[in-house]
Symmetry: C2
Subunit: 157 residues, 2 copies
């Protein structure tokens, strides 16, 4: 295997180990562009009181800040564990080119994390989920989409 | 319909409309606990250069900051549009009790947003996705999970 790839993943793994020592979740991630590390972050859910602060989300946010963009096309992500559905969504919204992962969602489940459960929930019909989802006021909410459609200089993402 | 629920959703819709005027995405969300608004945010992807700054994620982060916790059990979310997979994952990690939504993922797709596409991608086998996912170094990455398992005072989430 390409030695540079190994070094990038080892950095993600090192961050995951360091995070455990500091009381955080056992996850780390690295974003690379043109063979150079742009951002590298561990999980910060409990330290920052932020349930969205998974390693991948933190790293995407840091890379976007550094590159001054919301579009990470041309970048690749190395993560110490297969991304959960939240992070997978973030990866798509960030338009990353490729993802390398080490531990699997099954490993995460066996260590007490809910990734697998959430993957199951996401593919269910909206009325079959553990968290109830109730539709209301769709007609009133259409206004924002109508206004958005009318915009000539809108910035898509 | 309960008048208070309508007011909470109207606030989310108002935020989505205001966001369009300010050049942001047409989305807003509100988090409520015991009949009181804890946090209310619009989409900030383009203004903050943060692809994870969807209305629901921003509102979850703001509510957690306000309540000084990563666990929003006891809270409900009102969102002007059905959450995308990233936001759905965030909702599960935040342990919200219930979600009310107005526009649907189909409405979002028809207005040019990728929610539907990402729902499709998430349920695919990992080797069938548009963004390539490559496994590597699983053995090396297990160390962080092993260390986590050993911790006696770990903080789960």
């Amino acid at each position: 295997m390409n030695m540079k790839k190994k070094l990038f993943m080892q950095k993600a793994i090192d961050l995951s180990l360091e995070s455990v020592k500091q009381g955080g979740g056992p996850f780390g991630a690295v974003i690379v562009r043109d063979g150079e590390i742009i951002a590298a972050q561990a999980n910060h859910v409990t330290q920052h009181n932020d349930p969205t602060a998974h390693a991948e989300v933190c790293t995407i946010r840091a890379a976007c800040k550094k590159l001054d963009t919301f579009d990470l096309s041309g970048c690749e992500l190395y993560t110490s564990c297969e991304p959960c559905p939240m992070c997978l969504g973030a990866i798509y919204w960030a338009h990353l080119d490729k993802v390398y992962y080490a531990n699997t969602r099954e490993d995460a489940r066996d260590t007490g994390f809910d990734d697998f459960f959430i993957y199951d929930e996401i593919s269910k019909d909206i009325d079959k989920r553990m968290i109830p989802f109730e539709p209301m006021m769709r007609e009133e909410a259409q206004a924002a989409f109508t206004e958005w459609d009318k915009l000539e200089n809108k910035i898509g993402y």
